[in-house]
Each structure stands twice: as C-alpha cells, then as structure tokens.
C-alpha cells in the first residue's frame, strides 16, 4: 500500500479561486455536462478491425514507429529479430502478464541497460503474417 502524500496550501488557494469566480467553494461532485458537440464519436465510425489496423499502420509511419504484424505463434521469433536489429543484448520490459502468456523473454534476463542511440532506428513497415 502506497503511503499517502502531502498536500500544502490547498485551502487558501482554492478558496481564492472560488472567490474570484464569485461563488462559494465547490466541493460536491461536479457533474460533467453532456457536451453540445461530440465529433469524437464520428471518427472512424463503423470501420472494421482490418480497416482500423490499416489506420494504425499508417499512423505509425507518420510518427516514425516501426510496425510489425504477425501471429501469436510467430511473435517470439519476430520480437527476437527486432531486438537483434538494434544489437539489443539485454532488454527492459514492463510487468505485464501477457509477456508470460505469449512466452516472450522466457530465456532473457530482465536487466536494465543503457544503450546509446543508434541512427539505425528508422521507421519500417513489415508484415510477417503467415
């Protein structure tokens, strides 16, 4: 259990804001309004999963991110190849049960190592689907 942190000067600060707004402090739960316009729900509306994957692939290219598509069976091999491409001898990974589920990193130690930036890190698109 994480220890609770400290907060300082809150009351005077927030009272001052309420006073500037010309009203009493608002401490009860504020209900968000139903926004008059909600265009966010029209983005990619009705698109299939395959179409959304294509969107993802395109966007990855734009933000210089390599995109690999593969199957669960080939996933460990593809990941190994990517790591090798960057001369990655040691890796760092987040705690996520799916890594174990997909049998990733089972033969690799979880060690933090600083790796200098390599200009080889350019965006590439690969499709390793069977």
């Amino acid at each position: 259990m994480m220890a609770k942190g400290m907060v300082q000067n809150q009351e005077a600060f927030l009272n001052n804001i309420a006073s500037s707004l010309g009203r009493e402090r608002r401490t009860e739960q504020v209900v968000r309004p139903t926004w008059k316009k909600q265009p966010q729900y029209n983005v990619f509306k009705g698109e299939t999963q395959d179409q959304l994957v294509e969107r993802l692939k395109e966007q990855c290219q734009r933000i210089h991110t390599s995109f690999e598509m593969t199957s669960v069976e080939l996933l460990p091999k593809v990941l190994e190849e990517i790591i090798s491409k960057f001369d990655g001898e040691r890796i760092i990974n987040w705690k996520d049960d799916r890594f174990r589920e997909y049998d990733l990193f089972s033969h690799r130690p979880f060690v933090l190592k600083s790796v200098p930036f390599s200009p080889k890190m350019s965006p590439q698109i690969h499709n390793n689907s069977p």
């Binding site: 994480m2 220890a3 609770k4 942190g5 400290m6 907060v7 300082q8 000067n9 809150q10 005077a12 600060f13 927030l14 009272n15 001052n16 804001i17 309420a18 500037s20 707004l21 010309g22 402090r25 608002r26 401490t27 009860e28 739960q29 504020v30 968000r32 309004p33 926004w35 008059k36 316009k37 909600q38 265009p39 966010q40 029209n42 983005v43 966007q59 734009r62 933000i63 210089h64 991110t65 760092i92 990974n93 987040w94 705690k95 979880f110 933090l112 600083s114 200098p116 930036f117 200009p119």
Partner: protein, 475 residues
C-alpha cells in the same frame, strides 16, 4: 528566465526585429509551414468547427469548476503517494522546489520544456543555490547553451536560429566538430543530453494537462526527452499553471488531439505521456518521489473577469502562426516569453500594463488569431478590451494622446470649431505638402509619415462635396 525578456523599450525591440532579415524570413517560412500543417490536419479530421466548440466547452466548464477539479486532482495525486504544493506566487513555487532540491541534495537537474517554469524564473532560482539546470528539449537546449538566448516562439523556441548559427554555438560551447547538417547536429545534442539524463539527480517537467479523475499529468513531446526526465532521476517535480487541467481522460483525448493538430499539424506527437504518481513497488522504472507544484501567479485575478477566456489557452501557438504582426517583428519584439496574439493578451494580465502596455496595440485586429484558436478564445476582442481598459479605466494613454483626444472631443462636439478646423486644415498643412502628399509630418503625424505618406487634406469638406454633388458639381 522570467516572463519579461530584456529591458529594451518596445519600439527599440521592434526596430531590431524589422531589420533582422534572416529572422523575418525564418518567421515567414515557419508560419507558412505550421499554418498549412494545421489546416491540413483540421481538414483531414473533419468537423473542425464542432471540435473547436467541444474544446471550448470543455475548457469553459473546467475553468468554471476549477476549485473542484484541482481538489480532485490533489486528492488523487496524494492517494498515489505524490506530494502537491499549491503556490500562490512565483516565489512560493520556487521556494518549495528549492527545498525539495536541497532535501535531495540534488546538484544536477534535467528539465523538459515548460513555459510556466520560465514564467516563474525557476532556473535562475535553482542556479542561485549552485545547481546545474539542463534543458533537454532540443530548442531550449540550443538557447540555453547560447548564453540563454530568449525563446521566440512557444512551441519552437529556437525558430529564429538557422543551422549554421546552431553549428557555431555547438562548436564554441561544446567543441562540436562536424557539419551543419540537422541530422548530425541532432545526434550530437542527443549524445550530449544522454549523459546529462543519466547523471541527473532530479527531473523537472511542465504539464500539458493534468487529469483530475486519476491524479495524472500528461506531457506532449516529439523528442521523448520528457520520458527520460521522468524515468531516470529518483525524484520528479512537475510544475503546472493552475488552469492546465481536464476533468477526465475523455477530455484529455480531445484536447491533446486539438493541441497536436493546432501546434504542428500532427494527429499525435511522437510521445504523449501520462504519468500517475511515483513509481510503485512492481514498476521497473520511474521516480521514487513525485511532487506536483500548482501555480497561480496572477491567474486567479483573471478568473471571473472579462478576460477569463484567455485561461482556456492550451499553448498550441496556432494564433502566433497566423499573426501578420508576429510575422514582421518576430517573437523577441514582444518582450515576453509569451509572444504573438495570446502573448499580447496574457502578458499584460500576468505581468501588468506597465511592462506590456504596447502589446495590445501590436495587432491589426484582423482576427486571424481568433479564427485559428482551437479553443475559440476571442483574442482580437480581448485585445480591444485591453486597449479600452488602459485608456478608460487605468488612464494609461500618453499625455500627448490624451490632450489630442480631448482637443478632438471639444472640436467634434462644436460644429463651429469643427467647421473652422476643416477649413483651416488645408492652409495649415500646405507648407508640408509636396506633390500632393505629406512625407515628413510633425509631432503625432511623424510615426505615420516615417513609414508611409499622408494624403494632402482636401480643400473641400465632405459636406461641401455632398452639397456640390447634389447641385451637379464636378465632385
């Protein structure tokens, strides 16, 4: 660096900007690039006006309930083990940050880009206690090693420099020996900064938006520097202006989308980072201690006034990228870390009319800024309100202008004086007229004729012209 840049008078700064051809060309090209990227991104997204209305409504709702959302944020940050400090003034904020730094015995501090830390002069405060503060945003890093050259744009602070100037700075300050190719320059900076990240004792960031419902802060970058500044050092301090908050992740998604598109025309920047509290037991990396400093520094005085909408700003600089005045005079002319239309509105509110009285007049009121703003701040209307405030409520107009206006009011309210004046004007001005125009005007007319000709006063008044026209005169 404080909010105010330098001590030179406004017109001196403007003259310098107008004479700096390189800077002006750089501004034109950057404005075109960024403006077109934004327009393209908006068109690609579709329903842009609906997105703007949604964003405006989110910002207005958040400001109207700011005390509630800030309390919710603080509760959630502390529940996760983070510490929150509410700072009424820049001094309070700096004092708290200095105390944390002292307690951690931190000597080297790595920082990601943050306007509010510049506004409160945080770097100077930390340097005064012997700390080394390193800016890790590439643009800010370039300016910092170039003897703290001031930023000229909110999003692209080193916009006024070309690659050769940057190369020279790297050579003189850091022993760089390669070409001015941007890739080589960036790689060099990256290598330099990587060492700084690894050896820093403490990381400081700004905050694009805090998320009240989870106690998170979000950071938007294209370089990934904010992630390193928040992953490697054991202590992290994030500093936010008190208005930079959204109720939930749903609103964050909307505003981040608008920020990225409006600032640089990207759907998303390369890194959108959400951080919640310090590292937990099972986390591999992250800070062991997290402090959030929430800064007022004059903002609460804007709340509840006719200028409240200025606090809707999400610091995208879309208004700057369309401003014809900024295009000509550049960012440094504004004398504030907040340049362009939003700077002309915000700087007088945060820094006072004494230092920034000219800025509301540094606008053609063409309203391009208002049209470009993704959160629909009526910028040109706020500039007019500033002008009215200064003249009518604060009496800040120059003595000569006051006298001229009083004289005009007297003349214009008396038909006899007005008629006499219009009749006398052509003969009084005749010694100054050459080839039908006045090129060297006296007194208050001089600033006009310094840059353009003044037409010769017509011998025929409008009333005479109208009368003659009725009689079939030659007018």
């Amino acid at each position: 660096m404080a909010m105010k840049i330098g001590n030179e008078e406004f017109f001196g700064r403007v003259d310098k900007g107008l004479k700096n051809d390189f800077m002006r060309n750089a501004m034109v090209s950057a404005q075109e690039r960024l403006k077109n990227a934004r327009l393209h991104a908006a068109e690609e997204l579709g329903d842009w006006e609906d997105w703007r209305e949604l964003s405006e409504e989110i910002r207005q709702h958040t400001l109207e309930n700011l005390d509630f959302y800030l309390e919710q944020l603080a509760n959630n940050v502390t529940a996760k083990g983070g510490h929150v400090f509410f700072a009424q003034t820049a001094e309070e904020a700096n004092e708290y940050i200095k105390n944390v730094v002292k307690e951690k015995d931190a000597k080297k501090i790595i920082k990601s880009k943050s306007m509010v830390t510049e506004e409160i002069s945080m770097n100077e405060a930390l340097e005064s206690m012997g700390c080394e503060v390193i800016e890790s945003d590439l643009g800010e890093y370039i300016l910092q090693i170039d003897d703290h050259d001031p930023p000229s744009h909110i999003v692209a602070p080193a916009l006024h420099k070309n690659k050769e100037q940057i190369r020279d700075t790297f050579e003189v300050k850091k022993g760089y020996q390669h070409s001015s190719k941007p890739e080589e320059l960036a790689l060099f900076a990256r290598e330099q900064l990587r060492q700084e990240f690894l050896s820093a004792d403490l990381g400081i960031t700004g905050c694009n938006f805090a998320v009240a419902e989870s106690g998170s802060i979000s950071l938007v970058t294209n370089e990934g520097n904010a992630r390193l500044a928040t992953s490697l050092p054991k202590t992290q301090i994030s500093v936010m202006g008190m208005e930079r908050i959204v109720p939930t992740w749903e609103e964050l998604e909307v505003l981040v989308s608008m920020l990225c598109r409006s600032a640089v025309g990207q759907k998303l920047t390369s890194y959108i980072t959400g951080l919640t509290g310090p590292k937990e037991e099972e986390d591999v990396d992250g800070p062991e201690e997290f402090h959030l400093v929430i800064v007022d520094n004059g903002r609460s005085k804007i709340l509840g006034t006719e200028f409240q909408s200025a606090l809707q700003c999400i610091r995208c600089a879309a208004c700057i990228n369309v401003c014809p005045i900024y295009r000509h005079i550049g960012g440094h002319s504004y004398g504030s870390i907040y340049p362009g239309p939003i700077g002309a509105v915000l700087s007088p509110l945060l820094g006072g009319y004494d230092d920034y009285k000219e800025l509301p007049y540094a606008s053609t009121l063409c309203a391009a800024c208002t049209d470009a703003c993704p959160v629909k701040i009526p910028l040109h209307e706020l500039l007019v309100k500033h002008r009215r405030n200064m003249v009518e409520e604060q009496g800040k107009a120059p003595f000569g202008e006051k006298l001229a206006m009083k004289g005009f009011a007297l003349a214009a309210s008396s038909p006899k004086i007005y008629n006499a004046g219009t009749k006398m004007a052509p003969s009084m001005m005749s010694p100054l007229v050459k080839d039908g125009k006045i090129s060297k005007g006296p007194g208050p007319v001089k600033p006009w004729t310094d840059i353009r000709d003044f037409p010769e006063p017509s011998k025929e008044s409008f009333r005479q012209w109208f009368k003659n026209r009725d009689k079939g005169g030659d007018s």
